[in-house]
């Protein structure tokens, strides 16, 4: 089933065409990697779909409903969530609170000011469950600002995941992390996401990671889609090879 579909999506910044007529289809249950060199338009595409940016033209359809002009809040309610390339946490709050807040928000409980947050058992147990899935349960009372980079990346994903989205966008979840930690992070992320039956689109530069974890790979180049297929199909694609050879080595 088609979960997300963009129709001729366009976004321009001055002379640069970040998205030049993008027709993007994401099927339910997929674990999809979005690749391409820097400036290819991947983050812009995600920004458009998550309502961080408004498109110049084109449509975005989510589960057959036109969401092109809806707000960030609406899209989250509809079931689209994202993480950010530069880790975006609530550094002053504890790890537990970071995730719990997602759940409070999702449940519409953030307007409650006469009850103590910690007394909400439902939210607390769900938050702890999510944290254990991501291997962060032992750090639940630690302040988010003090975590190691790998843990911060995982928490970033966990916060978005706790919104229980149907479609989750992860913007470079392993950037800035050592090779060893990369595998750990991707193992955790992909197993949790698949277990939760969440459709995931991951922006990624490391082609090893991409080939190892994805069901499907979509390559962008200068605002357009260049290639779209299974890892094997992409490996055989000559255009992709030439772009990749010309591109800088994977981070």
């Amino acid at each position: 089933m088609v979960l997300l579909k963009t129709v001729d999506l366009r976004k321009q910044f001055g002379e640069t065409r970040a998205c030049d007529g993008v027709n993007f289809i994401v099927n339910e249950g997929e674990f999809l990697s979005l690749v391409g060199s820097n400036g290819a338009g991947k983050t812009s595409l995600v920004n458009l779909i998550s309502a961080h940016l408004q498109p110049d033209s084109g449509q975005i359809l989510f589960r057959d409903k036109d969401i092109t002009f809806t707000t960030v809040t609406d899209r989250i309610k509809a079931g689209i969530a994202r993480s950010f390339q530069i880790v975006n946490l609530f550094d002053g709050l504890s790890v537990f609170d970071n995730v719990a807040l997602s759940i409070f928000s999702r449940e519409g409980k953030t307007s409650k000011l006469a009850r103590l947050a910690e007394r909400d058992d439902e939210v607390a147990s769900e938050a702890l469950e999510v944290l254990s899935q991501f291997g962060l349960a032992s750090k639940s009372s630690a302040v988010a600002g003090g975590l190691a980079q790998g843990e911060r990346k995982l928490l970033d994903v966990a916060i978005a995941y706790a919104l229980r989205p149907k479609l989750l966008f992860l913007d470079e979840p392993t950037s800035g992390v050592s090779t060893h930690d990369k595998a750990q992070i991707m193992d955790t992320v992909s197993s949790v996401v698949r277990a939760g039956r969440v459709t995931a689109v991951v922006i990624e530069h490391d082609m090893d990671v991409v080939f190892r974890y994805s069901d499907r790979i979509v390559m962008m180049h200068e605002g357009r889609f260049l290639a779209d297929g299974t890892p094997d199909e992409i490996r055989a694609n000559k255009d992709v090879a030439s772009i990749l050879l010309g591109a800088p080595l994977a981070s």
Binding site: V72, L89, G92, T110, L113, V123, S132
Partner: protein, 336 residues
């Protein structure tokens, strides 16, 4: 699929905290027996300052918005009481509070609606500008507000008229009774604020403070939350103004003038705006500091200004922040 079992929820016990709070409350209640009347009066002012700073800090410490216009709410609270007395001949403290709070809330709601569209410097300047609109109105409409002379406020009746203070010995009676009254209101304010900042709403505010973009991508409506925080903050500070004027006996435009807003900021910073108890300690200490400064030297602004600069340089986390850091270091040393 095998789901990893979630660890059991460990709840941090609040008993030590509640015990400490109860102890503090009892100490406050016993103090008038141990200190002289002037000190009781001074402490009352201190508790009122603590309420003002507590309200202010919901915006600064928990929501990340620095307001330089809180004098507006304190002043609205005070002038409302003065008007109720002068034009409606109301003497009941309860009525002052019951009528004053909604008026302070309405003002905060209005000002907040205007201000929270902006952040950081523009927010600060806008709060400043709006508070000065009130100040200049208080000056210009002197036939209503008493102008620079202000309005006198007689001693109100407490407990729905049960206690009134006229005649011989009434000054002492009033000071003591008013002290207890303020202590109770103070306790209620502290508990209320504590619940608010530890509620899901309070967590959302802190998230917005820490990372506005991420909070938005959690589905939080940033502006709504900031407005709500502004409303609550202004109302608390307004209540402080309501409590202040019967004790002071007089309200003047000075409490609407923007340096007074600066004093509220100073108090929160002095105690430490990153902790819950910071503004409480800060309000009380600032009151003593200012009283001492004024009594000691004609150049008390110089003294206060120097303290402020030194504070920001040396102890930016304030008294409470500094103390907790000290405690942490000592604990660390013990472990080592």
């Amino acid at each position: 699929m095998m789901k990893p079992t979630a660890p059991a929820i460990t709840r941090r016990s609040h008993v030590p905290l509640m015990a400490a709070a109860a102890l503090a409350f009892i100490v406050l209640l016993l103090l008038p027996a141990l200190i002289d009347l002037y000190q009781v009066q001074l402490l009352t002012y201190g508790l009122i300052a603590a309420i003002a700073a507590l309200g202010f800090n919901l915006l600064l410490g928990y929501t990340g918005l620095l307001s330089f216009g809180h004098s507006a709410f304190f002043g609205i609270g005070a002038y409302t009481v003065a008007f109720l007395l002068r034009y409606l001949d109301i003497h009941s403290m309860e009525l002052y509070i019951l009528i004053g709070i909604p008026i302070a809330a309405l003002t905060s709601a209005l000002f907040g609606y205007i201000c929270v569209r902006h952040t950081r410097i523009f927010f600060g300047i806008l709060t400043l500008a709006l508070s000065q609109v009130l100040y200049s109105l208080a000056l210009k409409f002197f036939w209503v507000t008493g102008g620079t002379d202000g309005l006198r406020v007689a001693r109100p009746t407490l407990l729905a008229g049960l206690l009134s203070f006229q005649g011989a010995g009434s000054f002492q009676h009033f000071i003591n009774s008013y002290y207890y009254y303020v202590v109770v209101v103070f306790a209620i304010c502290v508990v209320l604020m504590w619940v608010i900042v530890h509620s899901p709403f309070g967590k959302a505010l802190q998230a917005i403070r820490d990372n506005e973009v991420r909070a938005r991508f959690l589905g939080l409506r940033i502006r709504h939350f900031r407005w709500a925080a502004f409303l609550i903050s202004g109302t608390f500070t307004g209540l402080a103004g309501i409590l202040w004027v019967p004790l002071n006996g007089l309200t003047t435009p000075e409490i609407l003038y923007w340096p007074f807003s600066g004093e509220i900021v100073f108090a929160a910073l002095l105690g430490g705006f990153r902790n819950f108890t910071g503004p409480i300690i800060g309000g009380i200490v600032f009151n003593y500091l200012k009283t001492y400064a004024i009594a000691t030297t004609e150049y008390w602004q110089l003294l206060l200004g120097t303290v402020l600069v030194a504070l920001v340089l040396v102890l930016p986390t304030g008294i409470v922040g500094g103390l907790s850091k000290l405690a942490a270091t000592l604990r660390g040393k013990e472990k080592a």
